[in-house]
Symmetry: C2
Subunit: 195 residues, 2 copies
DNA sequence: GTCTATATCGCGATAGAC
DNA sequence: GTCTATCGCGATATAGAC
């Protein structure tokens, strides 16, 4: 029930300023660093002035809140996709830890990396948001594999992959070969198999 | 061949200012954040004035270099301990990823966390130092388990543990129960076993 | 809604006394 | 070798025009 069908999708230029600002903030956090994500830099990348930015987000704290809310919404969607994934939650979790394709999951990834950067900067709210995300993921994994320690092991593996691919862009190509990813998945499923 | 034997060990008050400054820098980075580790804060914690700090380290860059050099030395020691560990490199690696006891390894941990924070802040040298450390670890693991993908899997697991315990002090107790750690080690060794 | 000032503050770094 | 004092810059945030 879209109020105005023609406005449910936006070309880049039409995308609301509020969204463009959050995009710019997340991108600067992810591609550069927390220090680089100044109000000036965010405003410039979003194509507004600093004053324009501060009309939509009255302070930098409000900007952070906007990003956290966006993350929470993406987490809810992702958990749902994880639950209903054709090859099961474990396969979905490991695969999406290493790389993604769809536009929604790319925005999700950007949000995670951005919030992780804020968490490193000692932002308590950001840490809580990440902890809540991990809690939700772990719940689905436990449901899928039964054994809590195995579920935790798989999640630690996913965290390690994420830490290397997304948070340390040194990118020595952690699992660059597709065949390596398949072998890793095989190892993980062997872990999950009851004996 | 110590020049003055009585000065090879220092009580906290006697510990050279240079070392105290590096300690303070690493602690502030680890316990708080990159932003909190200002020259003023480092000087205050080390018990010197800002001018005193800048006598030993002429710039903040020099301070970072000092920390990186300290990390490199610790890595060399750790790799040696890993190679000669009684229960093998894999056991050593996983156990020391989760928690440590000896004073040297505590300084090592603090250095890793501190440098990881700098790497998140887009410091190229810090990223290179972490990449070199991982490269060394991976070499020992590959030597121990034979299979490169298994070795990489174990390292990703260790990275995940580290990321949760050290970098996200949300500390929901990733593997709080000692019995859980033993089960995790059992799972890892099952991974490493050839079949 | 978005802009251009501008106020205020904290940081890194320098100068020079002791 | 360590201190105090100060400069210059960049960041957040405010005020007010359009």
């Amino acid at each position: 029930m879209p109020a105005s069908p023609s406005s449910t999708a936006h070309s880049p230029a039409q995308r609301p300023a509020r969204d463009r600002i959050l995009d710019a903030f997340a991108e600067l956090l992810g591609e550069q660093s927390e220090r680089a994500a100044t109000l000036d830099a965010v405003a410039a990348r979003a194509g507004v002035s600093k004053g324009g930015l501060l009309y939509h987000f009255a302070s930098k704290d409000a900007l952070v809140d906007g990003l956290l809310e966006r993350l929470r919404a993406s987490v809810a969607d992702d958990v749902e996709r994880m639950r209903t994934a054709p090859d099961g939650p474990v396969d979905y979790f490991i695969r999406t830890s290493i790389a993604t394709a769809t536009p929604e999951s790319q925005e999700f990834e950007r949000s995670i990396v951005a919030v992780a950067r804020l968490a490193q900067g000692a932002d308590e709210r950001a840490r809580d948001a990440l902890a809540a995300m991990q809690h939700d993921w772990l719940g689905v994994l436990e449901e899928a594999v039964g054994d809590p320690v195995v579920a935790r092991t798989i999640m630690l593996l996913g965290d390690g992959i994420y830490y290397n691919t997304a948070l340390l862009p040194s990118g020595s190509g952690v699992l660059s070969e597709p065949a390596d990813l398949e072998r890793l998945l095989e190892l993980v499923h062997r872990l999950a198999a009851r004996d």
